[in-house]
Symmetry: D2
Subunit: 371 residues, 4 copies
């Protein structure tokens, strides 16, 4: 265990300035890149110098005021970087280590975490709904030069030298969430799986289902760029809902039965309902989308009580072990999401990036942001 003096030295290298550039939410459609104080690592914390991050659909919801956060907050929750400071009690790391941090930062020591429910982290005790997600939600986030990581011991996953930042930046959230949706769905060898929407998360869900041994993954979308991308990424069958009756076609492809697992990755009444109707009797709907307002479950599809469908929902799983496993998949050549990184921006240009991403222009899937 390090002494006080050594910690001090770690915490505040003299060469650093006291401010940093960061994307700060000021109000609806008002994100500004500006100077904010640089964070310092207290006990159990770390600061990383962010080397790459990206923008998530949730950030767009925040920008539009659809998901409320406090003005003044640095947003973003997909951090890749280099350890810059290590607080008291964080062991097994060195300043300068390259690390991936998950979008959620579970403490590992509350009742939720100790039950394996990391995304419901209670920060020391109990459970808190979505409590695992803090970056760019309840604390400053990753669209900045530096990032303070709480519960650092549980959340810093080292990146091997052979793996580049752009290979892992999408693991922090979308790959963890998308693949988590396939895992929650319980995909088994030989299953048929339909994934509704082939945006970044839906596409990762499709890849997750393939990784788990699905015999056929059916991707559904109505956007030309996403259809092309889904095919390029190896989705077995891609259905364009503009030209086929999706439920009918899925029934046809599965010999009339419906799929074993349907994954909803958009968050609309329409996709939810179609996903339920595409299921085989007793199948599982894994829901990843964020629904606004009331969601209707059509009785004739979800024959609750006279059926035995399961509906499971997944919040982005995190923690350094989760990140480590996903990094291993990348390192061993089992997962390559670089084709999704369609555009690159500097942190200073992040408003252009938000605009492009929010408007889905130019075939954008995900944007790379480098501070």
């Amino acid at each position: 265990m390090s002494t006080t003096f050594a910690v001090q030295e770690k915490l505040m290298p003299s060469t650093h300035s006291t401010t940093m550039r960061a994307a700060v939410f000021h109000g609806v459609d008002d994100i500004r890149v500006e100077d904010v104080p640089r964070p310092h690592a207290g006990p159990g914390e770390a600061v990383i110098r962010v080397t790459m991050t990206t923008i998530c659909g949730t950030d767009v919801h925040i920008m539009r005021g659809e998901y409320p956060v406090k003005p003044g907050l640095v947003i973003g929750h997909e951090p890749v970087g280099v350890i810059d400071q290590l607080g008291l009690g964080v062991t097994g790391y060195n300043i300068g280590d390259r690390v991936l941090v998950g979008a959620i930062t579970p403490c590992g020591q509350c009742n939720a975490c100790l039950s394996g429910k990391l995304s419901q982290c209670g920060h020391g005790s109990g459970y808190e709904a979505i409590g695992g997600w803090r970056f760019g939600n309840t604390i400053n986030g990753a669209q900045a030069e530096y990032l303070l990581v709480p519960n650092a011991q549980a959340n810093l996953a080292k990146i091997p030298d052979s793996v580049r930042d752009e290979e892992v930046v999408l693991l922090a959230d979308i790959a963890s969430t998308g693949i988590g949706g396939a895992e929650s769905g319980g995909v088994k060898i030989g299953d048929t799986v339909a994934v509704f929407a082939q945006g970044p998360i839906g596409l990762c869900a499709s890849l997750g289902a393939k990784l788990m041994g699905a015999s056929m993954v059916i991707g559904v979308d109505g956007d030309d760029d996403r259809i092309v991308m889904a095919r390029r990424m190896g989705v077995d069958v891609v259905l364009d809902y503009r030209v086929v009756d999706v439920v009918e076609e899925i029934k046809r492809l599965t010999g009339g039965t419906g799929v074993d697992v349907a994954i909803e990755a958009l968050g609309t009444q329409q996709t939810f309902e179609t996903a339920l109707r595409a299921l085989r009797p007793g199948g599982t709907l894994s829901s990843l989308g964020v629904y606004s307002g009331k969601l209707q479950v059509p009785y004739d599809a979800f024959a609750a009580g006279l059926g035995d469908h399961r509906i499971v929902t997944t919040l982005c799983p995190g923690g350094k072990e989760r990140m480590r496993r996903l990094i291993e998949m990348v390192r061993r050549g089992k997962l390559d999401l670089r084709p999704l990184l369609t555009h690159r921006f500097k942190l200073a240009e992040i408003n252009d990036a938000y605009k492009l991403f929010a408007e889905r222009r130019d075939g954008v899937m995900k944007v790379v942001i480098t501070p």
Copy 2:
């Protein structure tokens, strides 16, 4: 259906008449006890002489025309009886064996059954939604003197001499369904469980949660008789929704967290929504009720995509192995549902029984019908 001479001999003991008394559905509110042809066991089938049965809430739905069946059908799906005929190929049984048959009669040999989805039995191949349920639905049922059992090899569970009919008659459906709801919910040792509605199925769900090691089972109802019965059957805490705010009280009882598992056993928008709101973050809602029309999932409770709730639905599990296990629980003194058998009727009086049961008069929980 072909028969050989040897089979003939088994099938039709000369002392039997060719008709029997049975409760036949003729139309809305028109159930008549009348003479119908006695069934004969073809290959793979058996006929049992029914010694005891009961009326299910689903039968009331049928009587009222809310669940459509063909006029002329003998209804009822909870059979206890004595083997009267054994068709070709049914082995390991003797005429005269006392048996329990589940409400569903899976074939064991289709893709659904071989996947463990017995209630979605495809009758030889594939999957069929709710295909396992045939008695009093697609084939003649149990409210009769004799009952033809399809796929008899998979569905006849012997009753030990030490166990009486009234101890097992509720296992065929309500105990299997209710306990199945606790099992689908994944109740673990130390879990808190709330069960919404303490009718026969809800009460069995409460008992199932207790059997699986819940630390506290909270039963919710608003009917005096059911509240008294729930207390009598050992439900740890019984809440009367007429006098307490159920969600608030459940939160209080669980230290602010909510229950690990909520079981819905009524089938209304209100109970479904309350069950969701009573769950802890990341908890499981096990839904047993039969909802009519569209069900609304309140976004703020079921934070799909931003939560990781699970919603599981359960159709009555069946098959002789399931029945055998439940009978063993009875035989070993772990499960005694006789207090639920509040009233007794002869088959000839079944319309009185339906009336009492449908109107929930006189503290009725379940009625015993003896042909």
Copy 3:
């Protein structure tokens, strides 16, 4: 349901002779291809005309007298063929349908099958150890022109037109067993897996682990041909135990931790012990090998009671649903075992095939036998 007359016609086409050629076990090292009576399908049974089969390591044990069967038995348990007769009560098939039948033929209707334990099938009731395996064990097997299939309804998996016999012949046993070993081991996305022995079953276990999302599959063998084949089939790392310290190398490859899942696919004290030592703390050993005599569990590796290793064993899973799923994997291009079919023989030459296979000459992996 067919009439008696029609069934008769189905059962005994007049153009067929009453005998067939088959490989009959007469005693140690005495297998003869000779004329035996052709089977006829009774109720619930089917007869298939075998179009392709193979020889299993278990057949070699039988030939050598190491696994006892009755003299006079037709051996072999990996059948691909065409339906030639359908007994009474088998529905959904036509004479002439191409089918795969699993090495085990569960009834689907006993307590074991209804519990999902198909390989412990009790033939109508109860459990019977290894009761699922009948072909070439307790009833006549597949190394013959015709094969009687018991419980046909549960065991005939149709082969799509686009799929050829040689693509599915290895699914009946070795792929089902090998992949089953990965499934029993609970391989998860990102797991590291070591498979001890890369013979046909071990190689299928390696492929199963890859299909389930392992980040790295390490195959271990000491035979040049098998090492080459393992590499060709895509095993990530292949270790030659003749030249490296396997446990040490596995520890190195896993950052000192050991693998999450070790699969034993040979059946020797040495491989079992090495597999245990290669596991990470709390890992799972999935054992597929058939051990002779007493097996010693080294206390220092298997710290029973002071560890929480799991040891799971798997008998070939079967049933038509299992076969259907594996066929789908082949049909969709996820599984191609044809490279393992290194040699081809006519049924008449089966003694040459046994000799080659038993002696592991000429780089043999599996032999194709065509009647």
Copy 4:
């Protein structure tokens, strides 16, 4: 361990002396109660004033030199107490809170813990075999006036006012381990379970199986006191191996099949082998015993590769959430282990307690030690 002034203040209330009494291991059969320095809580740690503890079979192994620990170590690992000091960063607790701490003290933040393998805790990163167990093994233990608790945030479970120390003291290890053995065994409603040895852990395993819904729990022992205690605690059938053939009797009680789950709770070749032979085909052996030397798996019972038995081993599960759940079971009247507390000693008399417990005199099950 570094401290700051603020921490100091918390750590050392002026009224405390700087030494405490503790049971120290000095060598084989040489445990001395003597003065040792009182511990102080560094960051992330806590000190509890021990109010009750007990002696475990493992402590006897330590005393006898069969399990090696360093001379000078305070032994014991079953702590109940009152929080005396809280180190920096431990939140949600107050000095004076009554708490139970598990025998293992997982960090919650290493790869093992974040994978749910708390007993293989890697202390910050990776996995360490049995790394979760530190008290009285690698750090000072609970047979003392004060105990330093590492990773306190993850390991302090509050005891409700209504629950007394003697109701929870056995939860720290034996109940968690015994019940954990039933959980690892996957006991389901209606299962038959045999538990080999009815000492404290075996008896807790029996109770765990009952809590999970076993239809029949069969306890096996050959000690009169333990047979009486097992009956008193509600074990359904207690077999005395001195007078019956255990395997034969278990087969008879289960209709010839064998039990679904066998739990081994002693750690001898004989019990392990008997447990395997008492299993039904495809059953699960849950092993809790600590075997010395090589364990032989009899091929004819454990038909590895030709069976599908599972063997699972369990190390005491811990963490505050686990303790909380068990405390809830006590609080709600579902678990009462007080009858096992047969004898009481002061810490000063602990050598008498060791002697009595090690020699199993006077019907001792567990001894209470109060500092």
